[in-house]
């Protein structure tokens, strides 16, 4: 794969940070098609960018031949997004607290914390194919 590929509500991209913007265009497009309000679109777009960054850098360890897929759908007044990589996964509960004094000035380590703050739920699922992080956000 060397280009983004769309299949229904899923976009798959080669595991490179250059494709962050492609995922953003597609996801922001879908959210606007849903009629989501602009502030919520930004929160979701920020969260997706965190998860895609992680999928590329941690999950797929920067191996560009691997793939990151992002799926989005809306059901029961809630938006659900799944970001998949080909890596071994992680436990979102075991991440160091970035707002602890000793971590406050660290350059990294805020991604999942921000996603948890902005979204209603963050879950990881592991399979033999890789790891999927699922986030949900209610439209109220």
């Amino acid at each position: 794969m060397d280009k983004p590929v769309i299949k229904g509500n899923t976009i798959s991209v080669p595991s490179k940070l250059d494709h962050l913007a492609d995922v953003d265009l597609f996801i922001e497009g879908i959210l606007r098609g849903y009629g989501t309000d602009e502030s919520l679109i930004a929160d979701i777009a920020i969260s997706v960018s965190e998860l895609v960054n992680n999928a590329v850098s941690h999950g797929n360890r920067g191996e560009a031949n691997k793939v990151v897929s992002v799926s989005i759908n809306k059901a029961n007044g809630s938006i659900r997004i799944a970001v998949s990589d080909e890596g071994g996964g992680f436990d979102p509960e075991e991440i160091a607290n970035p707002i602890a004094d000793e971590n406050l000035l660290k350059e990294i380590g805020r991604g999942i914390f921000i996603v948890k703050s902005l979204m209603d739920s963050v879950e990881t699922k592991k399979s033999d194919k890789g790891t999927t992080v699922v986030i949900t956000k209610s439209l109220q």
Partner: protein, 114 residues
């Protein structure tokens, strides 16, 4: 992301715009900030007026520039922090780290008062 820069009253004003999400764009701001330090331009205002949103990559760049400048006797201040970015600074407690001003002029003026 796009980045423009200028100097006003001897202080460097960096104005990124668009979204700061990582990837090729992020290094643009990173490189520029570190270039300023090398050029001994250690009083920097980052004007966030044109930044739609940023993620933790953007915050990481700001923090690394902030600490690098401070360790070299310089200072980094923020101006025109939008609501969306302010929320992120609150969430991450970085609001306690950065000095933020309502305008670039105010940020520049605050350097003089020292």
């Amino acid at each position: 992301m796009k980045l423009s820069d200028r100097t006003q009253d001897g202080i460097v004003v960096l104005s990124p715009s668009g979204k700061i999400m990582g990837g090729p764009d992020a290094s643009l701001l990173n490189d520029k900030l570190h270039q300023c330090i090398e050029d001994d331009q250690k009083r920097i205002v980052v004007d966030l007026a044109g930044v739609e949103w940023m993620n933790s990559t953007g915050l990481g760049i700001l923090i690394s520039s902030y600490t690098t400048l401070r360790n070299n006797g310089g200072e980094l201040k923020l101006a025109n922090v939008t609501d969306k970015i302010h929320s992120l600074l609150v969430i991450t407690k970085l609001v306690t780290v950065f000095e933020a001003h309502d305008s670039v002029d105010e940020a520049i003026g605050s350097f003089g008062q020292k």
